[in-house]
């Protein structure tokens, strides 16, 4: 078999590990905000998906195209994918893509995948690090008529097929699937590698390819907000009250013993 053509879907998101108290909903625009000094990142599971593709290429060769849909994407954030070794970066970037939901996102990505010069594997994260939907991978598979293997913790190319360790509730199972296929990746696969200097310099020279809805043959009713199947009625943050009773002692050990006494007094044990 010739080299695997791999596509990895990556979304730029607000940093999901920013302190919870720094997330603020703008009720008017129904958008989540973080203070401007907290940089955006590539979604965590999208990064694990990219690492899965890189590991296959390390062993078996192949080409990695990263696809990302959004608007006004920060080049230094999304170009991290090139710096760690992706061969090509294609951005679906246009104001019309704003406020997509999983449906309109998967639909546009499916058109982009078909416009590429062939594909064997499409990698997605198991779920995005902002809206936590977990839909786009399965959606791409259905739209393109491909099999999907979810929750992969290890992916190898063996004799023109993929061999995948899939996480199941009480362990894992080894699955073999023909290509082309969609694979969604979970955190156990492992972190994305660091970029090395050579990669960072090469990435600086590469320019992403940018496609608009028109380039994909999509009209404005099919993308972004008009293309949604879910209507967002309200986005809000329930008020939480801190109510923690701190248990102390002369030292940490005594505090531990006092905690036991306190829990007993409160009839919790």
């Amino acid at each position: 078999m010739s080299d695997l053509r791999m596509v990895v879907c990556c979304k730029q998101v607000l940093d999901p590990e920013a302190p919870p108290s720094s997330f603020k909903v703008d009720a008017k625009t129904m958008r989540m905000t973080l203070p401007p000094d907290i940089k955006q990142v590539i979604g965590q599971y999208d990064e694990f998906a990219l690492e899965a593709a890189l590991r296959i290429r390390d062993k078996a060769g192949g080409k990695i195209t990263v696809l990302s849909l959004g608007n006004n994407m920060a080049r230094d954030v999304i170009k991290k994918s090139l710096a760690v070794g992706a061969d090509e970066l294609v951005l679906l970037e246009d104001a019309a893509f704003e406020d997509s939901d999983s449906w309109s996102t998967a639909y546009a990505l499916s058109k982009a995948v078909q416009k590429l010069d062939g594909y064997d594997v499409i990698f997605c994260g198991r779920q995005s690090s902002d809206w936590d939907a977990g839909q786009v991978g399965a959606g791409l598979a259905e739209l393109l008529g491909l099999p999907v293997v979810t929750l992969a913790r290890k992916v190898e190319a063996v004799d023109g097929k993929l061999r995948i360790e899939q996480v199941i509730p009480d362990g894992y199972q080894v699955i073999e699937v023909d290509t082309p296929a969609v694979v969604t990746v979970t955190s156990e696969l492992g972190n994305l590698r660091y970029a090395i200097l050579k990669g960072i310099m090469a990435a600086a020279r590469k320019q992403p390819i940018v496609w608009t809805p028109a380039d994909l043959g999509l009209d404005t009713t099919e993308v972004g907000e008009p293309g949604r199947r879910l209507q967002l009625n309200r986005l809000f943050q329930p008020v939480k009250e801190a109510h923690c009773e701190m248990v102390e002692g002369e030292n940490a050990a005594e505090a531990g013993a006092n905690l036991a006494i306190r829990l007993r007094e409160a009839k919790l044990i």
Partner: protein
């Protein structure tokens, strides 16, 4: 246009009975259907259905769609997608409820994209909008930092529902239900299971435990999971759990992973040790009645979520805590 009406629950069977999540879905589905004056249907497709078909009726289903599957077919999400599509074509429900379980996380989105329907995943609340008489789906987003309320723009509307978010209600064995057989769906995908590996977890089962002791990245390695955390768990007859990093690092099996992308637990007592309290972790344990946190950082977010806290290194706090508990509990 076809008229979509009523609620369809996609059931799951565990040990010859409806899974607890399915019972919750039926409880919720029955309530919604009663409010709308409509019916509830339930799919029970399993290789070992046991009593679950009758149970679905007793828990409020007016019609039960059944299919006897082989063991392989029962484990194939593709087969369940096809069966669900078949049941939806027959019942034409307005609302489809699926558990946000290992199966449901794949089934919900695939079904929606296959049918051109709308799906909201991991919902924690479903309410009927008094004006439109349609169901509004509430789902945590941004790891639990906000809630989003969605309406569907396409029918049927599908919701995968977070386990333990709804109450099951009491069964009524005399509730009448008709049974309808679905046609067998062969597994046609080029997907083959070569091997299944079960990771042995000993002790109390996490999902059923009334006390859970969890360790985080601050545990620093596998060792505390076998020693101080385990000793504490033993004294409390608790199950051991973990945040994501210990599972990713192989310090603890994935089966112990608690949170948005792991298991959801709601014990009486949750003891979080060396866990910072990221919202994605709290998503899996915030239903606990009481949360106790042990963390060396007084500023850690977990103290905003906990009921009782101790600031200190777990190496110092846990042995004394466990010892004192032992004394108190043998008195």
């Amino acid at each position: 246009m076809k008229e979509y009406k009523g609620v369809l629950v996609y059931g799951e069977v565990a040990g010859g009975k409806l899974s607890s999540t399915t019972c919750e879905l039926l409880g919720c589905g029955r309530k919604l259907a009663d409010e709308l004056g409509q019916n509830v249907a339930c799919v029970v497709a399993s290789d070992a259905p046991g009593d679950s078909v009758a149970e679905a009726g007793a828990r409020g289903a007016d019609a039960v769609y059944t299919a006897e599957l082989t063991k392989d077919a029962a484990g194939s999400a593709a087969v369940h997608v096809a069966l669900a599509a078949q049941a939806i074509a027959a019942a034409a429900p307005a609302v489809v409820l699926i558990g946000h379980t290992a199966l449901g996380r794949e089934l919900g989105p695939r079904l929606a994209f296959r049918l051109g329907a709308a799906v909201a995943t991991d919902c924690i609340d479903l309410q009927i909008d008094p004006d439109s008489k349609t169901v509004v789906m509430t789902k945590p987003v941004y790891g639990g930092n906000a809630l989003a309320e969605f309406a569907a723009r396409a029918a049927p509307q599908i919701a995968t529902v977070r386990p333990k978010a709804m109450s099951a209600g009491e069964p009524n064995p005399s509730h009448p239900a008709e049974t309808i057989q679905l046609a067998a769906e062969p597994a046609t995908e080029p997907v083959k299971v070569l091997e299944r590996v079960q990771e042995e977890v000993t002790g109390v089962k996490l999902e059923d435990a009334s006390v859970v002791v969890s360790g985080g990245r601050g545990a620093g390695g596998a060792e505390p999971f076998g020693t101080v955390l385990k000793e504490l768990a033993d004294v409390l007859h608790a199950a051991v759990g973990a945040s994501r990093p210990p599972c990713d690092n192989g310090w603890a099996p994935e089966a112990l992973h608690i949170g948005l992308t792991g298991k959801i637990v709601a014990p009486d007592l949750y003891v979080a040790v060396a866990i910072s309290g990221a919202s994605q972790h709290m998503a899996g344990c915030s239903g606990s009645k009481t949360i106790v946190a042990i963390n060396k950082d007084a500023e850690a977010n977990i103290f905003l979520e906990a009921n009782y806290g101790v600031v200190g290194k777990f190496e110092d706090v846990l042995p004394a805590f466990t010892q004192k508990l032992r004394e108190l509990l043998t008195d």
